[in-house]
């Protein structure tokens, strides 16, 4: 933002007191169409998958509860699986478990990547170089082969949560990289020097000066990490290397594929989780890009 010299393409620059916006507590500015659509989808999914299970009559993963491969009916909204489970209830639990995993992993990764990224970017020097080398390695090496070998080794002896832990171990690098590059540019900004000459120490600068600029990205990063985590677990589950006994968006597809849902004509078993996944991912993605766009517009970037 410059005050002088620059040409005056927007005469608003010199407009008087009207330009002075006051900081309201209203968050309405965030609600662009994308974000609104995304939030609506997410709300439906979250409410549906966390509230509905209280009304579920049986354990949906229990096999042979009902007749196998029943068609869609009033009693079984999405029919039943080849294992005699109600597809609808199984799907509801799957969404809930996947979301829970995503949120837990998202929190873990956001905390780790923010801490590492901020400190690397701000402290700099050899510490930064070393951290970045590790980050670049984690970004460059393909994750799936490693997950496959880990999955093959721990299959059967694992809990659902340890799958999440593994995803955290391999998922923090992208966020750390982004936050570090933000911290790197912020470090050169004049207000950091201003804070230093106002007596602030490194901790104050990280928390009060740099963090607010990074926090908007953290929201975006958090949502993207949920996507990443759900996707990764599901990917492992689809090829049978996660804890497939736990209903998730991946394991439901694993069972459907394993029992040849397409050949037996139980298409709903396969299509329902696909539609649910696409909608959920679209909702999360719309929210994160919508949030990003809203923030950029507000800062006058876009």
């Amino acid at each position: 933002m410059s005050i002088d010299i620059q040409a005056d393409p927007q005469p608003v620059i010199n407009a008087g007191p009207e330009r002075r916006t006051t900081r309201g507590s209203s968050l309405m500015w965030l609600l662009n169409p994308r974000m609104t659509a995304g939030l609506i989808i997410i709300t439906i999914f979250v409410l549906g998958s966390y509230v509905l299970p209280f009304f579920c009559p049986v354990d949906p993963s229990q096999q042979a509860t009902y007749m196998k491969n029943l068609h869609v009916s009033g009693k079984h909204i999405l029919g039943t699986t080849a294992l005699g489970q109600d597809t609808f209830w199984y799907l509801v639990f799957s969404i809930r478990n996947s979301l829970t995993l995503g949120i837990l992993v998202g929190v873990g990764i956001t905390v780790i990547s923010t801490t590492i990224g901020l400190s690397a970017g701000y402290i700099g020097g050899n510490f930064e170089r070393l951290v970045m080398l590790v980050v670049d390695t984690f970004i460059t090496i393909p994750l799936l082969p490693i997950l496959i070998i880990l999955g093959a080794l721990i299959r059967g002896n694992t809990t659902f949560l340890s799958v999440g832990a593994i995803i955290v171990v391999f998922g923090w690098a992208w966020g750390a990289r982004t936050i570090r590059s933000m911290a790197l540019t912020l470090r050169e900004r004049e207000f950091i020097n201003m804070a230093r000459f106002s007596g602030a120490n490194t901790f104050h600068i990280l928390v009060r000066e740099i963090f607010p600029y990074v926090s908007a990205y953290m929201v975006v990063g958090f949502i993207n990490t949920i996507l990443f985590a759900i996707n990764t677990e599901a990917t492992l589950a689809v090829i049978g290397l996660s804890k497939v006994e736990v209903p998730t968006l991946g394991s439901i597809i694993f069972w459907a594929l394993n029992y040849n849902a397409l050949f037996t004509g139980n298409v709903v078993w396969l299509v329902a989780p696909i539609v649910a996944t696409v909608l959920l991912f679209l909702g999360l993605f719309l929210t994160s890009t919508g949030f990003n766009a809203a923030f950029a517009t507000r800062r006058g970037v876009a």
Binding site: L143, I148, I154, L227, L241, L262, L270, T277, L282, T289
Partner: protein, 333 residues
């Protein structure tokens, strides 16, 4: 930064990434509570219904440890591992296909993976960026919003969902392509090539779609930002045509970060390719890994990981080395 420094720095990172990647591959599985030898012995035990004598087990364990390079302390194991992988490209024999060497198995699967991956990545990159730059250059028009929506719809969808949707649509609802593809092996003939192409269409389409969405979105954002640059404004004020501005000004500049991004996202792209291979039974490295994982063929798994890391890191290196040819600011300094 001159070209020499640029290349030197990039090579140093390459070596460091390879080293770190291989080290992680080595240590991670060893930090787990189970190890392949126990797992395998357990498997044999249960097959033999517990009739194995302790001596037989000890013998078996010793030979297995020899086979997997698990002899000695961690450090000598590690040095042995690096020595075999880096200097001899040797991962020992496969267990399931004993005594076929792992390196041979992987190397015969590699051309399949590389062809599928390179071709689909290239197509996705070119198509996605072309659509992205058009959407970005005309971002005020309605048609551009439609193009971007395609990107938004495609981008967040996981590979496995794309693969299954493609199968559902093009092999089940409209059965033009095979539900369970088969890939002929052995000598090549014209008919076989045709069959391979036919069967490879759906996996390739999956990968193209996945890369397409990402490229549209990121190119569109870059193109919009680039179009705001003073040099594009000046080109417009010079009277340069729409086409000249879009191609020579916006695309030429916005392409550079896209190339860098491609190098960075290769790992993800590779993951997708492996998964797609598994879902389509495409005879590449992915399928080899899947088979090895279910039969507990750990040498093959280690080998595939090491090879994957080398392949992806090398591809990234190649892209980064091409980069100075595209950006004169690095080439001429």
């Amino acid at each position: 930064m001159g070209v020499v420094q640029y290349i030197g720095k990039r090579l140093a990172i390459y070596i460091a990434v390879l080293f770190l990647g291989l080290t992680i591959t080595f240590f991670l599985p060893r930090m787990l509570p189970t190890n392949p030898v126990d797992a395998y012995i357990g498997q044999i035990q249960s097959r033999a219904a517990g009739t194995l004598t302790p001596e037989a087990i000890t013998n078996l364990r010793a030979s297995l440890e020899q086979l997997y390079g698990l002899k000695g302390d961690l450090l000598s194991q590690y040095l042995g591992f690096l020595n075999r992988v880096v200097l001899h490209f040797d991962f020992g024999p496969s267990f399931a296909y004993y005594p076929q060497p792992v390196s041979q198995m992987i190397l015969s699967a590699l051309p399949w993976t590389l062809t599928l991956l390179l071709l689909s990545t290239f197509i996705a990159w070119v198509l996605g960026n072309a659509v992205g730059v058009v959407a970005g250059s005309f971002h005020t028009r309605r048609a551009a919003a439609v193009l971007e929506f395609v990107g938004i719809l495609l981008y967040p969808i996981p590979y496995y969902i794309l693969a299954l949707s493609v199968i559902l649509l093009l092999a089940y609802v409209i059965p033009i392509f095979p539900l369970s593809p088969t890939f002929p092996v052995g000598d090549f003939s014209l008919q076989k090539v045709g069959q391979i192409l036919y069967n490879s269409f759906l996996p390739a389409l999956t990968l193209v779609l996945a890369g397409f969405g990402w490229n549209i979105l990121s190119m569109k954002a870059l193109a919009v930002a680039t179009a705001e640059e003073p040099y594009v404004t000046f080109a417009r004020l010079k009277g340069a045509s729409h086409w000249t501005r879009m191609v020579r000004y916006v695309f030429r500049n916005a392409m550079l970060p896209q190339v860098t991004a491609l190098a960075l996202s290769l790992g993800t792209v590779f993951n997708g390719a492996l998964l797609t291979e598994i879902l389509f039974s495409f005879p590449g490295v992915g399928l080899v890994m899947r088979t090895a994982a279910s039969s507990g063929d750990y040498n093959v798994l280690y080998g595939s990981i090491a090879l994957s890391i080398i392949a992806v890191a090398t591809a990234g290196l190649v892209i980064d080395l091409i980069y100075p040819l595209l950006d004169p600011r690095i080439r001429h300094r």
